[in-house]
């Protein structure tokens, strides 16, 4: 069946900001879908609020709406665009939920829009637990016993029929938000309450626990002729009880006999048919009892998912692309397999390697969060690694995580030299406790348990991790021991053992640590022994057919030879470097807070720019969620860890003109100096300039020479030092360890007592690293500038005025282009200083500078000679692809040549707002500070600041009220400033509610305010009123430990109840402007292309 011709225009809904449970994978799938549909001549209308996505690039879809993904706004888009169909299965749960609401409200029917891929009934059957359970029963499959509850009473009734532990799953939430495992009645009550609150339909499922069972996932595809294929099977390393997004997962399934695997395959086919997903991909999760093979169906996602992105990268089969083609009527046999070209997509990929995905967590950012892994996802990113064996893939995955560990580092008695040890009772207790509790560190504790002599059988009993995995880890530990003792007794590494370690994925650093050698000594020795990596292709077919797509991974293979031809033994390498001019781009690795999709966006642009300019682009990255690791993006893809050894091997193989390190964030930047020392050319800004900007003392000299101001500062190596420096600068001070990313461990310290506390902790954390102490500029306005330079000329990309004051990490602050309150003189000063710095640092490419403005004085806070997090936002605001330009400049173009010689000041306003993961971490405070906590961002564009800010808030999930009650409670210093805001809200028709002090002040200033009790003052207090939904917006600033603690419950309950809250005066002021704009003119929708058409065109091209 060929494609449908009755459809011309398709609406594609994206997934919005990056949040825990929904990350870059939906940019990957949406971008693929968009390209696939356009390739077939469909007009694509796209909506997504996330500016850091490739899919929202103005030249990808025909019409791109960077607008909130809410039913109201999407209806406006439908009304304006009149698409024939909507594809709801590409944008994760966000797109699915939005589509369900539009369908149920009759919007699709009203405008004659057909849901393609999955219809309303299929989505509801898959998503609503009771319907799903009935559907499974109808086809004779078992699901864990469960009952639904909408109240505590009902939940208590249910628990009478089940044994603890039980799983609580709220309906219709992302990444299992609000869910958990209850082991006793007390936990149960809390979790039921939390779960009902988290569910948008206030409903939970109480489910029989299958903790400890094995967990499997199958990725299934179906076309409209009812052909069904399985793309990939995945086995979870962590057993049931840990969300699959937080599990280490392995493809293909490792421990199922064919008979058992075929049961899962048969079930999957039955399920996709019964649920009625017409076309496209679905993910189906099973649990299998390790004692008898009994199978339960756990859940199904009737859409592409994080797992489908992983499966695509793991097999080379582009699920989203094919799903888009199936949605418009093609059948699997009509679509060619991109990789083999000759065979059709109607087959099941088979692989000849092992894939391991490992999650990356950010608990260090949320000290109060419970780090135990449960059914609610908590990881912020993931890395994937490919090896010929599980051991190799696992070791590479650990290295790819970039958590500073070259391998399976020690966790107990870290300073010991020998791998094995005899644990003390206390150590044994610690190990056993950490084995029982699933966490991001459990893998390392399993290795310690093995080294400490625990039996595999016992580790299995504590962890439920299949003995097959545990025994493989034991093999790794055995190699460690052999390396250590062989070297210790003979002073050398036997070649056979060395090779075995390399084959098992050992890094040079970990071999070095076991044999008293440096990383480079190990590398040299390996090279001498001829133990060098070879590259193999990911080809969907285990080499049965020739592959045309160079998607490669490294491995170690023994040499072979031809005895008749007399060839020398060699290992088979499938990398085929060409003679063309080529460039290696280093990606940004797993997503983490502070380094996410924004950098992937830059790397993808870099690749596209290189290709357009006639260079061959070679991508290195290990994040399976991304567009950069789509085999379609670059000329060659190396799916490899971004570690020095792996990158250098690729460079040695490919011999590129140079390597681009400035677009992938801190990860590649860190490699600049070592790579250059190894003789690799770094393109763009030199590594010396990078060092000058990163090295505190060199940078200070530079600023002195340029006579630029920065906040007074000093370096402390001891508590005494710190006290002296802080006193001379004057409190408050900003303190931080010398080498940080995303504001890690940064803190504003107002008094000596706290400084001493901090220093005790910080010094303890990193004894060799000094602490930096800066004067903290209170109530200063922070400004971010992104600029671009060709070494001669510098052009400002964008000047972003932050909404939150300095002290809130720039990544967590909302900001506006153009600035909305700063004077022209100040802005000119900022521009001048930016250009001066770019020239002095001889920047070729991008540079980001953070300024603080206090009393019209400009202070420089930080300079990053690389692409910043805001590049995609700025590029979309000004309609110029800055990352592409930067790439071309690095390759020798000039800004004049590119026709980009003047800063662009749009007549519309673009606001970026940060999105936080607090809802996933019960008990964590939502106050912002110098340590970055946001996982993603959204963009609001409109005619003026108010409307743009309102859109950004709505996109970030803050439902801005148009009427109702505003609660205001601010610290004394803010009272003066909050009064006009309160007055504005009052005049917009809001009732103002305040705690006694604030209320009194407001009344004195003419704002009628109703008084409400503080939590400590008796009941009903403010939190009661928030919980009973009597408050529609919260403005709350606080200062000092006591005040912060007192007001914590206000912020947390607002968050839990989904009430918008603002913790800064500036934020409150902006929100009032937003509400005013919404009430006055409402919010309109407009495409990015329309906005860009209002900008001045480039001088030349």
């Amino acid at each position: 069946m060929p494609k449908r011709t009755d459809i011309k225009k398709v609406l594609l809904i994206g997934s919005g900001p990056i949040i825990i449970g929904q990350a870059c994978e939906f940019d990957y799938s949406g971008t693929q879908a968009c390209k696939a549909l356009k390739e077939d001549g469909y007009e694509v209308v796209l909506v997504n609020s996330n500016p850091a996505t490739i899919m929202t690039d103005p030249n990808l879809a025909d019409r791109t709406y960077i607008e909130p993904i809410t039913p109201e706004m999407v209806e406006k888009i439908i009304e304006r665009e009149r698409p024939d169909a909507v594809l709801p299965t590409m944008g994760g749960q966000t797109a699915l939920n939005c589509s369900v609401r539009l369908a149920e409200a009759g919007v699709f029917e009203k405008y004659g829009v057909e849901m393609i891929g999955a219809g309303l009934n299929a989505i509801k059957k898959a998503e609503e637990r009771e319907l799903f359970k009935l559907a499974m029963q109808r086809i004779g499959l078992e699901v864990p016993r469960s009952s639904q509850a909408r109240s505590i009473d009902k939940a208590i009734e249910i628990i009478g029929t089940m044994d603890f532990p039980v799983i609580i799953r709220p309906s219709f939430t992302l990444g299992g938000t609000g869910g958990g495992i209850a082991y006793n009645m007390e936990e149960y009550r809390d979790m039921v309450r939390y779960g009902i609150e988290s569910s948008p339909v206030n409903e939970i499922l109480v489910e029989e626990s299958v903790i400890g069972w094995k967990e499997y996932e199958l990725e299934v595809m179906r076309d409209r002729k009812d052909n069904v294929v399985i793309i990939c099977s995945i086995e979870n390393f962590d057993p049931m009880g840990v969300h699959t997004g937080d599990s280490i997962t392995v493809a293909p399934a490792q421990t199922l006999t064919d008979k058992e695997y075929q049961i899962l395959r048969d079930y999957s086919i039955k399920i996709i048919r019964e649920i009625g997903v017409d076309t496209g991909g679905s993910n189906i999760q099973f649990s299998v009892n390790p004692q008898n093979g009994k199978v339960y169906v756990i859940e199904m996602n009737p859409r592409v998912s994080r797992s489908s992105a992983l499966a695509s990268k793991a097999t080379g089969f582009p699920i989203a692309k094919i799903a888009a083609k199936l949605a418009v009527g093609y059948t699997l046999d009509e679509i060619p397999n991109d990789i083999t070209k000759k065979t059709p997509a109607s087959f099941e990929p088979t692989i000849d390697y092992v894939v391991v995905k490992i999650p990356r967590f950010a608990f260090e950012k949320f000290p109060n969060a419970d780090a135990t892994l449960t059914t609610q996802m908590k990881s912020v990113g993931e890395a994937m690694a490919i090896g010929r064996t599980f051991k190799e893939a696992m070791s590479k995955a650990v290295r790819s995580l970039e958590t500073g560990s070259g391998g399976f580092d020690k966790k107990v008695r870290k300073d010991r030299h020998e791998p094995e040890f005899v644990p003390t009772d206390a150590e044994l207790d610690l190990i056993k406790a950490r084995l029982k509790m699933p966490s991001g560190e459990r893998l390392w504790f399993v290795c310690e348990a093995i080294r400490g002599g625990l039996q595999i059988e016992d580790i299995y009993r504590s962890t439920g991790i299949d003995p097959w995995f545990l025994n493989n880890l034991k093999d790794i530990v055995d190699i460690e021991k052999a390396l250590f003792w062989q070297f210790k007794s003979t002073g050398r590494l036997p070649e056979g053992l060395f090779r075995r370690a390399k084959e098992a994925g050992f890094s040079d650093a970990s071999i070095g640590a076991l044999s008293n050698k440096s990383e480079s000594e190990v590398r040299a020795l390996a090279s001498e022994c001829g133990i060098e990596p070879v590259y193999k292709t990911v080809d969907t077919c285990a080499a049965e057919f020739e592959a045309h797509t160079p998607y490669l991974y490294s491995t170690y293979e023994r040499p072979f030879y031809n005895a008749l031809e007399g060839t020398a033994p060699r290992s088979a390498c499938e990398a085929r470097p060409t003679k063309r001019k080529k460039v290696v781009i280093l990606g940004s690795g797993p997503n983490r807070i502070g380094q996410g999709i924004e950098f992937d966006y830059c790397c993808v642009h870099c690749s596209l720019a290189l290709k357009e300019a006639g260079y061959e682009s070679i991508m290195v990255n290990c994040n399976p969620e991304t567009v950069s690791t789509d085999y379609d993006t670059s000329d060659r893809l190396y799916f490899e860890p971004l570690a020095f050894q792996d990158v250098l091997s690729i460079v040695e193989k490919e011999k590129p003109l140079g390597v681009i390190v400035q677009l992938g964030g801190q990860t590649p930047l860190k490699l600049a100096v070592p790579l250059e020392k190894a003789g690799v050319k770094i393109l763009g800004t030199s590594s010396d300039s990078i060092d000058m900007a990163e090295d505190r003392e060199r940078f200070d000299h530079l600023l002195e020479r340029l006579k630029l101001k920065r906040p007074k500062s000093g370096i402390a190596r001891s508590i005494g030092d710190a006290m002296r420096v802080a006193r001379s600068i004057g409190y408050p001070v900003m303190v931080r360890p010398s080498y940080v990313l995303g504001g890690r461990a940064m803190e504003i310290v107002y008094e000596e007592r706290r400084l001493i506390e901090y220093m005790t902790k910080a010094i303890h954390a990193s004894p060799e690293h000094p602490v930096l102490i800066d004067s903290f500029l209170q109530n200063a306005v922070e400004v971010d500038v992104d600029c671009i330079s060709d070494g001669e000329m510098t052009v400002i990309g964008g000047v972003m005025e932050h909404i939150e004051e300095a002290g809130v990490h720039s990544g967590d602050s909302a900001c506006s282009i153009p600035p909305y309150s700063l004077a022209k003189g100040v802005l000119d000063g900022i521009r001048h200083q930016a250009k001066l710095l770019a020239r002095e640092l001889k920047v070729v490419g991008l540079m980001n500078i953070q300024f603080a403005i206090k009393d019209n004085e400009i202070y420089i806070l930080e300079v990053n000679p690389r692409a910043s997090r805001t590049i995609p936002f700025v590029s979309k605001a000004i309609g110029r692809p800055l990352a592409k330009y930067a790439t071309l400049l690095m390759m020798g173009s000039t800004l004049k040549g590119l026709g980009f010689t003047e800063e662009i000041t749009p007549a519309y306003t673009s606001v970026k707002e940060a999105v936080f993961p607090f809802i996933k971490f019960p008990g964590v405070d939502t106050l912002l500070g110098p340590e970055m906590k946001s996982t993603g961002e959204v963009m609001g564009i409109s005619r003026d600041f108010g409307a743009a800010f309102a859109k950004a808030q709505i996109s970030a999930g803050n439902r801005m009220p148009l009427k109702g009650r505003v609660f205001i409670s601010v610290r004394d210093e803010d009272k003066e400033d909050i009064a006009p805001v309160a007055m504005e809200l009052f005049s917009l028709g809001f009732k103002v509610v305040a705690t006694s002090g604030t209320a009194r002040f407001l009344k004195e200033n003419g704002v009628p305010a109703e008084c409400v009790l503080k939590v400590a003052e008796g009941r009903p207090h403010i939190v009661d009123r928030i919980k009973s939904r009597e408050i529609d917006m919260v403005i709350n600033t606080s200062f000092g430990a006591k005040s912060v603690a007192d007001s914590y419950s206000i912020r947390r309950s607002s968050l839990d109840m989904g009430i918008p809250y603002f913790t800064t005066v500036a934020g409150a002021r902006a929100s009032a402007m937003g509400i005013k704009a919404m009430l006055k003119d409402g919010l309109d929708v407009k495409t990015l292309q329309e906005y860009h058409s209002t900008l001045q065109t480039p001088n030349t091209k």
Partner: protein
């Protein structure tokens, strides 16, 4: 770790380690891309005379058991893997893969670059090889491989077929039930199955479809088969060159038109020859569990389990039989049917084991055919 060598007739030499039996074995080296089901593969009599390389790297993970067998013993000459597991993990496991190979005298080699080997076979075609642990000179081993007779012209059926007729009484496997009893199914059709190297799962499928199956040796003359008054005759899979099994071809010619016939794999090839068609050797064959086949009568695609080195020449059956199934990867013949008589066959393995169950409907097609002929009513 005992060293082992794999030498191919083209001169390629891989050095790895020995597992399983430490003996020298020769055979045609082929690769199989199925990620599960190594025990079924080893016990499939169609692998007689072959050394099987598994493209998936981790083998032996779930051990071996007494159920996942397709015949009384393994038939492959040798087994080539990247990694073999010494600590199987499965509630079904009863032993380790290496012990199993050792017990059955099958040579194994591991630790070699199986992907490189696969690419060599893909590019140059399946070729003869030897696995050796004797440490002989590579040139000697290559010569030995070169001198090993190839598959063309080889009648291997006679080495794997049963000695005497027997009846089959085991149904399909179910989780928790093992191989099912057949009491409830009943025996509505009397079927004689020629054993050219039959896989047990074919018999189980037939039995579970209501067939009372008698398995007979490949040599049994047609008149003796007809004397058993079957409702249908089944032609099984098996090893070697279909063209070399002349006696089977003659018997089938004598059965066509007298009883419904269903053939699988080698049975399909010999049927095509009996109808007047011809077969040829594929470069490296189809062996795996992911081969897409289109049923031309419905347009539906099924993912199939395959294991064959020869194929029916499409041109040769024009006018003699209808093409019913094709392979979507290389468009080769996957199924044929007689234009008027109740006679059909497929190249692939609807009985799966290992592999997907998509094509199980063909057993039903066979019983429907017998029913139309008045049987089983």
């Amino acid at each position: 770790m005992k060293k082992a060598t794999l030498a191919l007739s083209d001169g390629t030499v891989f050095e790895g380690y020995s597992f399983g039996a430490q003996i020298d074995k020769t055979g045609e080296v082929v690769f199989n891309t199925s990620m599960t089901g190594y025990q079924e593969v080893l016990t499939d009599p169609s692998y007689k005379g072959q050394i099987v390389a598994m493209t998936y790297t981790e083998q032996g993970n779930y051990g071996v058991n007494d159920e996942d067998i397709e015949s009384a013993r393994p038939w492959a000459e040798g087994f080539i893997v990247k990694e073999h597991c010494q600590y199987p993990s499965s509630w079904r496991a009863r032993g380790r893969l290496d012990e199993y190979l050792k017990r059955h005298n099958i040579a194994g080699i591991y630790g070699i670059d199986t992907r490189a080997l696969t690419r060599i076979i893909r590019d140059k075609g399946a070729m003869q090889g030897v696995i050796s642990t004797t440490g002989q000179d590579a040139a000697v081993l290559v010569k030995k491989a070169h001198e090993t007779p190839g598959m063309v012209g080889a009648d291997l059926v006679k080495e794997v077929t049963c000695g005497a007729p027997y009846s089959w009484n085991e149904g399909l496997w179910g989780l928790g039930d093992g191989y099912g009893a057949l009491d409830k199914i009943g025996k509505r059709f009397k079927v004689v199955a020629y054993d050219f190297g039959i896989k047990r799962n074919i018999l189980r499928n037939l039995a579970s479809s209501g067939c009372d199956v008698t398995v007979v040796p490949a040599f049994m003359p047609a008149n003796e088969v007809l004397a058993m008054r079957p409702n249908g005759v089944f032609l099984s899979n098996g090893p070697g060159d279909p063209d070399a099994v002349k006696y089977a071809r003659r018997n089938i010619q004598n059965l066509i038109g007298k009883t419904p016939i269903f053939g699988i794999c080698l049975g399909h090839q010999i049927l095509a020859l009996a109808l007047g068609g011809s077969t040829f050797k594929l470069k490296f064959g189809h062996r795996g569990a992911n081969q897409p086949v289109m049923d031309l009568t419905t347009g539906r695609v099924e993912i199939t389990s395959q294991n064959h080195g020869f194929a029916v020449d499409e041109g040769s059956i024009k006018g003699l039989a209808n093409l019913t199934h094709i392979n979507l990867n290389d468009r080769t013949v996957e199924g044929i049917a007689h234009p008027s008589l109740p006679v059909f066959s497929v190249q692939y393995h609807p009985e799966a084991s290992p592999g997907p169950h998509d094509a199980q409907y063909l057993f039903r097609r066979f019983t429907d055919m017998m029913e139309q002929q008045g049987a089983g009513v």
